[in-house]
């Protein structure tokens, strides 16, 4: 049986599959079918020659949720909230994105004001009833919504992170009036404090539920029609997977799950290469994504924003994105400075060399003129060199540079922008890039990886064997993961270890139940416990791991305190015993370990990898550069830069002075001069 990963991106739908019996591996890429993305999923499986009935597991990553949110293309939803707080979604936190820009607007609210209703009720910050829910008013609101076609409703009351009993009562009234409605209770969904983040997250869940249910229904129907009898698992934002059944109820966990596959691939590389600290980078057409895996573990953040001032309070992989990719446009600003991005030519019209009417110079055009991309792109596509030259020449003329100087400058600035995103990901966590190995994913990633690494003084780069279908590969290397948390406020000095243990046990039981429902047996379950902590008086928390093994005791609490001081020092550069640590909430990550791709490279075929030489421009000169076929390069092969390695779905560039070696999993390990 096949284990199959399919990632649906903005432009391409990628597949990676391996056979449980023979170890055979397959990759495939088709264009994303934008109207019904499930069509492309079926198409890529068919193109790969894998029978639906022959799949035991299909792991699926999709941008459907993110796209629906960004385009606001979901059925209208409603919000019911505490009187006085109708506009939390619209006001946000009151700040603006561009400090001095006179013409700016804020993101349009997820739910329109005419569909935001209020009822009288109030809980205190301690969870006591200040005013009970006005049941008459609540029923009237339910009646008004029932009279509209709206059937997705978020219920968001102030202080419901302490107890959601008022919200639940409201939900019951809505469900009574509309048994077919999706009703989301904010305090149950994510009991986090500060209303804006919790309300927004609940609204996102309500808005996405009908969209994702339709999508998964459609996909499951198509799969079943074709004879699929295996398990369908979905990539989620925290770097794990969940069942499609669970995903229907937690669509907020699908946001930005796209790059999660790449991160899982990076974690896989840590295990298979033995590199301890890996930096994940992924270059697509429009954006560059990066994250770090210190000790092989991805970092998780709770500060993600979908758009300006639209936070999603779900633990998410801490991935930084910038607008830098193959399609990033080069331009000259008012002060006469050469800039690259953040605007992208996208896939339509795309870079000038795509010959689809694009006239602006992009990073891809520059790479083509420098000889790093071949005009035939491995025979798949004919690139228009003349169009690329015209586009880059325009920039060169404006800058008073030669054509090739401009082309090399465009690539370098693009790579520097990527390097800054890396620094934001790394140094906001107080770490040094030079301690990491840079792993490069995405079709355009390995073309830029060495230059990004040089900009960061990182000496070593890994080009993984399946870089071009990284997210699909990563999907097959992932675990099921549920992050569950509970609010619990207590200074460490007066914390009650027994109470904390009881809360954690409850969370763990919930995690156990969710994993069991996903079909995970107890021997494959793992639980990681953590606390959200800060100094007494601070407002923001940082995540501190709780000691593993055994129940928390007084000594464990003390260790937790010192662990917090140290984490604070790493994050912010300062820490002091003058201040007292406190716990704000507790969390459990429930992990269901899944079957891993066998380590052996049984399916690897060695062959004649040489594709001759061609001129490539580096550092102001043309070099005669050897070109290799990455798909058949033998394990143990040594390479020296400058060199070009062409894969089925990616191209790697090794600059002069770099040396490389193909490891046993056919990853290319590059050491920079």
């Amino acid at each position: 049986m096949w284990r199959v990963g399919v990632d649906v991106g903005g432009t391409f739908t990628d597949l990676f599959a391996w056979h449980e019996g023979t170890g055979e591996r397959r990759t495939c890429k088709v264009l994303t079918t934008k109207n019904d993305r499930s069509e492309g999923v079926l198409a890529v499986i068919a193109d790969a020659g894998i029978p639906l009935a022959g799949m035991s597991v299909l792991v699926h990553g999709t941008t459907t949720a993110t796209n629906a949110l960004i385009e606001r293309s979901y059925p209208e939803a409603a919000l019911v909230t505490t009187e006085g707080f109708r506009d939390v979604l619209e006001i946000g936190r009151m700040h603006r994105e561009f400090l001095y820009r006179p013409y700016q607007t804020k993101p349009s609210p997820l739910i329109r004001r005419r569909h935001r209703f209020t009822v009288d009720e109030r809980l205190s910050a301690q969870g006591e009833t200040v005013r009970p829910l006005d049941v008459g008013a609540a029923r009237a609101v339910a009646g008004r919504i029932a009279a509209t076609p709206i059937r997705s409703i978020a219920v968001c009351f102030i202080n419901s992170y302490v107890t959601s009993r008022h919200e639940r009562a409201m939900c019951d009234i809505l469900q009574d009036a509309m048994p077919d409605a999706d009703v989301v209770c904010s305090g149950d969904l994510r009991p986090v404090f500060r209303e804006h983040g919790r309300f927004t997250t609940a609204a996102i869940a309500a808005c996405l539920m009908p969209v994702m249910r339709d999508y998964f229904d459609q996909l499951e129907r198509r799969l079943a029609d074709g004879g699929f009898g295996g398990r369908l698992l979905i990539l989620k934002s925290n770097g794990g997977m969940m069942s499609a059944r669970f995903a229907r109820h937690h669509p907020e966990e699908l946001i930005e799950s796209g790059p999660a596959g790449g991160v899982a691939y990076a974690a896989h590389l840590c295990r298979s290469t033995g590199f301890r600290d890996i930096l994940h980078t992924d270059v697509g057409g429009t954006s560059f994504d990066t994250s770090i895996l210190p000790g092989g573990e991805p970092l998780v953040t709770r500060q993600y924003e979908l758009e300006w001032d639209v936070p999603v309070m779900v633990p998410m992989l801490d991935i930084r994105s910038v607008g830098a990719g193959g399609g990033s446009v080069a331009w000259v600003d008012d002060g006469g400075s050469l800039r690259v991005g953040p605007r992208s030519a996208g896939s339509e019209p795309g870079p000038a060399c795509y010959g689809r009417g694009g006239t602006e110079a992009t990073v891809t055009d520059a790479n083509l003129l420098l000889g790093r991309l071949h005009p035939s792109l491995g025979g798949k596509f004919a690139l228009d060199v003349a169009a690329a030259r015209r586009a880059v020449q325009t920039v060169a003329d404006a800058m008073g540079m030669s054509l090739l100087e401009a082309a090399e400058g465009i690539v370098r600035i693009g790579c520097e922008t990527m390097a800054h995103a890396v620094k934001a990901a790394i140094s906001s966590r107080g770490r040094d890039p030079r301690d990491f190995v840079l792993a490069s994913f995405g079709g355009a990633g390995p073309m830029h990886a060495c230059f990004v690494a040089q900009a960061l003084s990182i000496p070593r780069v890994v080009v993984p064997a399946y870089a071009g279908v990284a997210s699909a590969f990563g999907a097959t290397a992932m675990d099921i993961r549920h992050d569950i948390e509970a609010f619990h406020y207590s200074p460490v000095s007066s914390a009650d270890p027994a109470r904390i243990e009881a809360i954690l046990a409850g969370l763990q039981a919930e995690g156990h139940a969710r994993l069991a429902a996903d079909g995970i047996t107890p021997d494959r379950m793992r639980f990681i416990r953590s606390a959200q902590m800060r100094y007494v008086g601070q407002t923001y928390e940082i995540t501190v791991p709780l000691p593993e093994g055994g129940a928390l005791d007084a000594a464990g609490l003390e260790r937790l305190g010192s662990e917090f001081h140290e984490t604070h020092r790493i994050e912010y550069g300062v820490a002091s015993d003058d201040f007292f640590p406190e716990i704000v909430s507790l969390g459990v990550a429930a992990i269901g370990v899944t079957t891993r791709l066998p380590d052996t490279a049984a399916a690897v075929v060695n062959g004649d990898a040489s594709r001759g030489t061609r001129p490539v421009y580096f550092d102001g000169h043309w070099h005669d550069v050897s070109v290799h076929d990455g798909e058949v390069m033998g394990v143990g092969t040594d390479l020296s830069g400058p060199a070009i390695i062409e894969y089925a779905h990616a191209i790697a560039v090794m600059p002069p002075g770099a040396t490389g070696r193909i490891d046993r999993d056919r990853n290319l390990i590059v050491t920079l001069a």
Partner: protein
Amino acid sequence: MSQIITAETGLSGTPDQVDPVTFEVLRSLFDYAAARMSSILQRSSFSQILADNVDFSNAIYDAELRLLAQAANCPVHLAAMHFSAKALAAKFDIERLEEGDILVVNDPYNGGTHINDLTFMMPIMHKGRRIAFAVSRGHWMDLGGGAAGGLAGSNHVAAEGLRVPPLKIFRAGKPNEDVFDILLANSRTPQFIRGDLQAHLGALRGAEREMQRAAERYGTDLLLAAMRQLIAYTERISRKGIEAIPDGVYEAEDWADTDGQTDDPVKVKVTIKVEGSDITVDFEGSDRAVVGAINSPVANTAAAVYYALQFFVGPDAPANAGMFAPIRIVLPDDCWLNAKWPMPVVNCTCITAGKVAAAVWQALAKAIPGQIIAPTFADANWFMATVTTNSGTTLFTDILSGGWGGTPFHDGMSVTMDPLGNCLNTPAESAELMHRIVYERFDLLQDSGGAGRNRGGLGSAFEVRFLGHGTLGIETSRTRSGSPGVNGGDTSPAQRMLRIGPKKSQVIGGLAADGSWKNPISGTHAFAPGEVFRFEATGGGGWGNPLERDPAAVLDDVLDEYVSREAANSQYGVVLSADGLRLDPQATAARRAELSRERRNPHA
């Protein structure tokens, strides 16, 4: 006698020495270093006003104390901080500063603005050579004085808290505990002092780390050359922006409602003279110094001019000293915009800066009517309150934003911090966790935006209930009339504040039902347990004639209850069907014709 403020950098015409690619690399590195400072300060600070409200700013200066890069925080801080830096440099010879030295100042008459904003400055050294400065300014919760947060509304600066002259608070990394002790002994919130200091220290060190790494990688000479080039580059963009404004002399006025001590409005008069790529902003004709706490120190007045112009001169240029260079400011000697000791100043950063900026925009409206946006609510509506119960007194704060003016292209933003800052509101759930209060409301206020072809963004209604004895100090204005419109747009309604008790509610600031006007500026508005403080913040001014607004947009506004059906009729001339769900095109046309005749000023 007038005082003339110029900001030449000595760098204009600096030849480009750094290759364009490295230049771009370093430009974004400097931005990143400044942004990193703010991220550290927000997340590690202890007081609500820094952590929740983000009332702080961070910047990197070059080795000669010229602004090099800043984080996207409060413009009124950012454009004033170099006055603090200069004041510190005047006292402490910067050539003799050591690694780890940190200087501090808040003195309003020596580089500061209001007492609450403390500015920390640290030299960044590399291999024994000074390569830059990190500067971090934060609004501290309380530094003493006659009312919480210094909002005493008094007639002497001594009532506003502890004046900190230029001091060295860290010497080579070692804290000067004497200074700490004085700060601790003079604050209502000593519990925040050490934690906030640690957060500022973290921010300064974060910048130091980034800049030292850059010097290591690129070499000090190249780094310093790129800094000079960057400042010259921004000046080039700014001068281009000014050249795009037609030469001429443009005047406007705006008003603060009161100085808090009398009922008289206080005038800003601005005359902008544009000549080629130079701009002069003259305040001749503005009112003399006043008794109450709205006088504005030079640094604050200049900052308001700088940030107001920045919106239309080079909004996307790298923000550095180059943007100030083409601007000359003329301040009369005896003027409320040129405060001298011991004039009280606490409200200058909000009331005064807001009005100066609004006056500048209204003058620019005459020069570039097709590009200008209508003024905002031009204030912060910042309050500080204490609540006292048997278990003690706590101090909380919030900023009650109104709306931005309509633009040539779209409606103004609703409930967004004024251009003067970029602070965040206080979440209800955060406030209630710490204090004996209930946040009852913070939502959009219907009909609060100035009507216009593109309407002003909406203001807000805010209500907080005191569960103990409350005392509240506030700075606010636009309580006589709201935000002015431009190009035929309407003025928004006036702001006002109320005390709501179980039996009666009472206007305690602004216009009451009987037409009388109550002075809102006081540090001692009192609230009994159970009473509610209500504030109505106004929206932005309207842009263009409201009778030209697309009726479909007005219908949408009514359906979303941004605009009432009555206002749709009386301000926009839009008449709806009986059920209120559709337009009545015929009745609308007739009503618009009628209103058009009534409008005193036909559209421009």
